[in-house]
Symmetry: C2
């Protein structure tokens, strides 16, 4: 178990991703380092009002605390209350163009300690895509890149982590998935540290290949006020999921995390409208019908 | 204990309030009755894109269920899991003019039952104001009307419920109150049903006198894009509070409530911006400094 190696990988991943996103946008991300009085700190790399990204951030953080919040490990509540160290990279990008999807990626490493007992460690993470307009080509590309990332670790990983993602990013009060999914995993600590770390690195390294080709295709499409309006409306669902259900967000807010860094995931401009439904023959209705439901994107 | 009398009062209160708000706005509220397959239903009265109200709703609902969610009664978790009946009126109004404050009012009546045991009932409710620009006159008027509503029930009620409101409507991750407060109470069942019902009626009847004079004064003030922008930014705090902390919202979403009626509290247009701070000499900074902190608004 080597937390320093994980730390170094996460920092270099953040740097690589930001450098590439800055190239795409043309605008330098704002660098906001912070420290936390209770221990730890991080660096947020933020973009707002860019040419491509309306708002987004790529955050690195490393925090420790005396009490692991219950939201930190879903399946092992017995760990709650232990002292912990948590480090991770978390990113959310909200492009301005409504044809370009919002994307989220996260990799985290946690260590829970208790007196002289052996520390318990685990990884979690994943990436998922939230389109406002559906393109099958994009969904297939994103999912096949996720599958490629996990392929070396066994053929069952992608289907398992894909299903986990569908279950996790589900807005229960809407009966709707947040987007078209991707992969999600938590509590990963088998068969051993090196193997888990390899898997997590593969996920991190596959983020840019999964997202950039989609962004490059869609960011240049012409759009109008109607599409912007639907994007703002659908972004409301993103807010609802993140504030009501997302364990990463709740973990951050509960553990006294840095609010602005955590809430960089929220979109720049959002609309709510009462009981709105798209015209059944519209592209907006097609998004709900064909994309916002669990699907096997890699079936032939 | 007389649930039918409470039901009738709530429906007539909804009608009175909507009639008066329609007069102010000039636009008829949209009437949306709904039923719930598990039992109960309600009627949402919704306004969007009105002359005065950009979005708002005055909802009546009456639902029953087999399992009272834990969020329903904060101080008596032993009631969780009982069967329940809940009825209430809940309103949120988001005026378009940034000088006119957002307002919230709620009155609820709950009955928890368990086999042959005596049913346990209680009232909860309150009202609170969320300005975007601070006016001492408005804060004093709102709070003095709240005090008037509670005065007949003992001089200690207003200070207790005022403090409860300050504690309840607090956004912990921001270290900020949601607005300038008002009154809040829960678990009210003493000294007896009639007395509690009188108190609750007095709160309901004081809503229009508390809010309308403020609305009438502020809705006519000229404003520009800067004020609209700050309003949209501050509305983000309203969303954060309601989705992360508000027990009424969580109770509704957890108990399989009607999502669109519950989330009518969310503002029509909201902005998030990274780590934004107002110019220290601005009116926006004065809101934080002088209004967004617990204050005794009725001190001489």
């Amino acid at each position: 178990m080597n937390p320093i190696a994980v730390n170094n990988y996460l920092v270099s991943l953040q740097n690589r991703i930001v450098a590439e996103l800055e190239r795409v946008d043309g605008r330098a991300f704002y660098r906001d380092p912070w420290i936390r009085s209770e221990g730890g700190g991080g660096e947020s790399r933020i973009v707002e009002d860019g040419a491509v990204f309306e708002r987004g951030g790529v955050n690195f953080s490393k925090v420790s605390g005396q009490q692991l919040p219950p939201s930190a490990s879903a399946s092992r509540p017995e760990l709650a209350g232990r002292a912990f160290e948590a480090m991770g990279v978390s990113l959310v990008l909200h492009p301005r163009n409504p044809f370009a999807p919002t994307v989220h990626m996260n990799i985290r490493f946690l260590i829970a300690t208790k007196g002289q007992s052996e520390p318990i460690w685990w990884f979690g993470g994943g990436m998922d895509l939230t389109p406002y307009y559906g393109f099958e080509e994009d969904a297939r590309h994103f999912h096949s890149t996720c599958r490629d990332a996990l392929e070396p670790f066994g053929a069952d990983r992608y289907p398992r982590y894909k299903r986990w993602c569908d279950e996790y990013f589900f807005i229960r009060h809407r009966g709707e998935p947040r987007g078209i999914g991707g992969i999600f995993f938590d509590d990963l600590n088998e068969p051993g540290f090196e193997s888990c770390f390899d898997l997590v690195r593969s996920v991190g390294d596959h983020f840019l290949p999964a997202y950039l080709p989609i962004l490059e295709r869609r960011r240049i499409l012409p759009y109008g006020e109607g599409e912007r309006d639907f994007q703002a409306y659908r972004r409301g669902r993103y807010v609802e999921f993140n504030l009501v259900y997302d364990r990463g967000t709740l973990f951050g807010l509960q553990s006294g995390g840095r609010t602005e860094s955590i809430l960089m995931s929220l979109p720049p401009l959002v609309k709510w409208r009462y009981d709105w439904k798209p015209d059944p023959s519209s592209e907006e209705a097609r998004l709900y019908r064909e994309f916002l439901r669990p699907r096997d994107w890699l079936a032939d």
